[in-house]
């Protein structure tokens, strides 16, 4: 049945009722699961080409624009929300379930609002709402580190939103339109919008909010976080900047740079955050190539990333929920007590590594093929290196250090059933799309004429993966693999967390010293002036002295004589 209800509205209305179901956990669970189900049915009913428009101050706003690109992300966000909501159903009183569920539903609704927005004002509103609603998924962990990371996350995203608004205003001034569509990188407006989107997409140098904040979220909150914010940015890039060559280089750097950090990172959820940046690099690169195959590959990879990265974050969230730990140096040997979680994590690891029959294989190979078809011969080896790097940090490191490696002595049990069900759905979809890629290809914005399962693709990918794993195994056997050490690694956030603080302190002390010196000098001048005035006008001063009338007459006659002489000669 055709629908014309804005997709975000279903989630916002759904979120309104969540606080009132605080004391009815079963009813709340049913309600929460119903929200993405009803939302998905609504999106299913949206006709391709449907637009909802309103007039505001002489401008035409389009709060809902349904085309193949927005509909694909619409389906994806409903799927992501559905899985993440199931994963979070066990939340109890100590976990702030009302805050987490309400903010998560508003957050998912905001992501839907952003991808269906046809104009900049609607996009800006949902852009900011994404940040404001999602920060509670970090803050509800209630640790000092989470509170300050959440604050930094919020600041970065509000700045991104303000930059977007500035770009929108310049665009409206130049073109007279607020429509958000293909922009190209020409002019101030386009660059401002590009910058705003780049911050949300975690472009290199603007990426540290992701690495800083996501590992500090609650076990369930980070699953929501991993699904929406960066994917909205990928959507915005695909919508506004497809085919911009600079994105190829940004994407290539983005795919490579974080894998070095991922190798040495001790916190496994932070390793996954670096991995997320690496995967977004593939998407950004695909969008930069700009051909139908490449853009299809980029958005297909975004779709798959929500599934496999969500699955990995869910498995690490389950480990964190059951053991209270996420650091490689504190974990190990959990396969004995969490075998089902281990298997589901391995499915996620195989998927992200792009093993044939798992979902990343069918999307990442589209981007790699597009690089070859478009003769990007220098970028292709770089991305191949990044592909191999994924195997090391996400394919091996995550499951190995959590579930195998040395025995940490932790004896726990499987996580709550809802967590296992959510992970099971994610794992099933990773395999289903890997085996039946046509299911995903049929939803992509452009026509797909691509066969991932050619003999060469399968053979070369298995060769690459096997020998990448062989290198890791050899480094382990030779005992030169980097040890897991409790530590932090300095990243770009060092600039504002440490250097800026020191520089501000130094500048403050310098300004304070200069201010003190100026005040002392000024007071000295005032004091000397006062002393001079006192000397002149004080009780013994020249000006205050009592002079006899005779001397006054004498001086007056001298002055008059001088005046007379001056007049005569």
């Amino acid at each position: 049945m055709p629908s014309s209800v804005p997709p975000f509205l279903v989630f916002f209305v759904g979120a309104l009722l969540v606080p009132f179901l605080r004391d009815a956990p079963r009813l709340r669970a049913v309600w929460l699961v119903l929200i993405p189900v009803v939302g998905a049915l609504n999106v299913w009913g949206l006709q391709e080409g449907f637009e909802l428009q309103v007039q505001l101050l002489g401008y035409t706003l389009t709060p809902v624009r349904a085309d193949r690109l927005s509909l694909l992300f619409g389906y994806l966000f409903h799927l992501g929300a559905f899985i993440a909501i199931i994963y979070s159903l066990h939340l109890k009183k100590g976990d702030s379930p009302t805050v987490q569920h309400t903010s998560a539903v508003v957050y998912a609704g905001s992501a839907l609002g952003a991808v269906f927005a046809g104009d900049f004002i609607t996009l800006f509103l949902f852009w900011e709402l994404l940040a404001i609603s999602s920060v509670f998924l970090i803050w509800t962990r209630r640790t000092p580190a989470a509170i300050s990371a959440g604050m930094r996350y919020l600041l970065v995203h509000v700045v991104s939103g303000v930059t977007l608004l500035a770009g929108a205003m310049v665009h409206a001034h130049q073109t007279g339109s607020l429509d958000f569509g293909p922009m190209g990188l020409e002019g101030l407006a386009a660059w401002l919008v590009f910058l705003a989107v780049g911050v949300k997409a975690a472009f290199p140098l603007a990426h540290s909010w992701l690495i800083d904040a996501y590992p500090e979220g609650t076990p369930t909150g980070t699953v929501f976080l991993s699904a929406f914010t960066t994917k909205v940015a990928v959507y915005a890039l695909a919508r506004g900047f497809a085919g911009e060559e600079v994105l190829i280089y940004i994407g290539a750097f983005m795919a490579c740079f974080p894998i070095f950090y991922a190798v040495i990172e001790n916190d496994l959820r932070r390793t996954l955050s670096y991995s997320m940046m690496n995967q977004i690099g593939f998407m950004v690169c695909g969008i930069g190539i700009g051909t139908t195959l490449a853009v299809n590959g980029a958005v297909a990879h975004a779709f798959n990333d929500v599934l496999f990265k969500g699955l990995l974050f869910m498995s690490m969230g389950a480990v964190m929920y059951m053991t209270g730990k996420t650091k490689a140096s504190e974990l190990g040997g959990l396969y004995k007590t969490m075998p089902v979680t281990m298997i589901l994590c391995v499915v996620g690891a195989l998927s992200i590594s792009a093993v044939p029959l798992f979902n990343a294989f069918v999307s990442k190979s589209m981007i790699m093929s597009a690089l070859l078809y478009e003769h990007h011969y220098w970028i292709w080896p770089v991305m191949l290196f990044a592909s191999a790097g994924v195997v090391e940090h996400a394919g091996i490191k995550i499951p190995y250090f959590a579930f195998f490696a040395h025995d940490s002595g932790i004896r726990t049990r499987e996580p709550p059933r809802n967590m296992l069900v959510a992970m099971g759905i994610g794992a099933f979809l990773c395999i289903l799309i890997g085996v039946q890629p046509q299911l995903l290809y049929n939803l992509l914005p452009g026509e797909v004429d691509y066969h991932a399962y050619s003999y060469t693709h399968i053979l070369t990918q298995i060769q690459l993966l096997c020998f990448a794993i062989a290198a890791v195994a050899a480094f382990h056997l030779w005992k030169i693999y980097p040890a897991e050490i409790p530590s932090v690694n300095l990243d770009v956030d060092w600039v504002y967390r440490r250097a800026a603080v020191k520089v501000t302190g130094f500048v403050g002390s310098m300004v304070g010293a200069a201010d003190g010196a100026l005040r002392t000098a000024f007071l000295g001048v005032v004091r000397r002036t006062m002393r001079g005035a006192f000397r002149a006008s004080g009780p013994r001063g020249v000006l205050a002295r009592t002079w006899p009338a005779g001397s006054m007459v004498l001086w007056v006659s001298i002055l008059l004589s001088a005046f007379l002489l001056f007049q005569l000669f």
Partner: protein, 82 residues
């Protein structure tokens, strides 16, 4: 790191897994000599290019990451004095 502590998986199993895995590596390496129908990049003309790239790419990655650690690694409470 695992080399300093006993592994949670019994040693015989690791041995079997590694033998099976390196056998698989040998098979996929050998398959390269039977030809690859699709070649788009000059590098793909090289024999065993993908295995070479996979192994030495990761070796380079790990060695470079160890070097990076010397520069960027700090104690866990580094930012606690914020």
């Amino acid at each position: 790191m695992s080399e300093h502590k006993p592994n949670s998986v019994p040693q015989p199993w690791w041995g079997r897994i590694l033998v099976a895995f390196f056998t698989l590596c040998g098979i996929v390496l050998a398959m390269d000599f039977f030809g690859r129908p699709e070649k788009h990049h000059p590098l793909e003309e090289w024999p065993v290019m993908y295995p070479f790239f996979g192994f030495f790419g990761i070796a380079l990655l790990i060695i470079a990451a160890k070097g990076l650690r010397r520069v960027v690694m700090r104690s866990e409470d580094y930012y606690d004095a914020e």
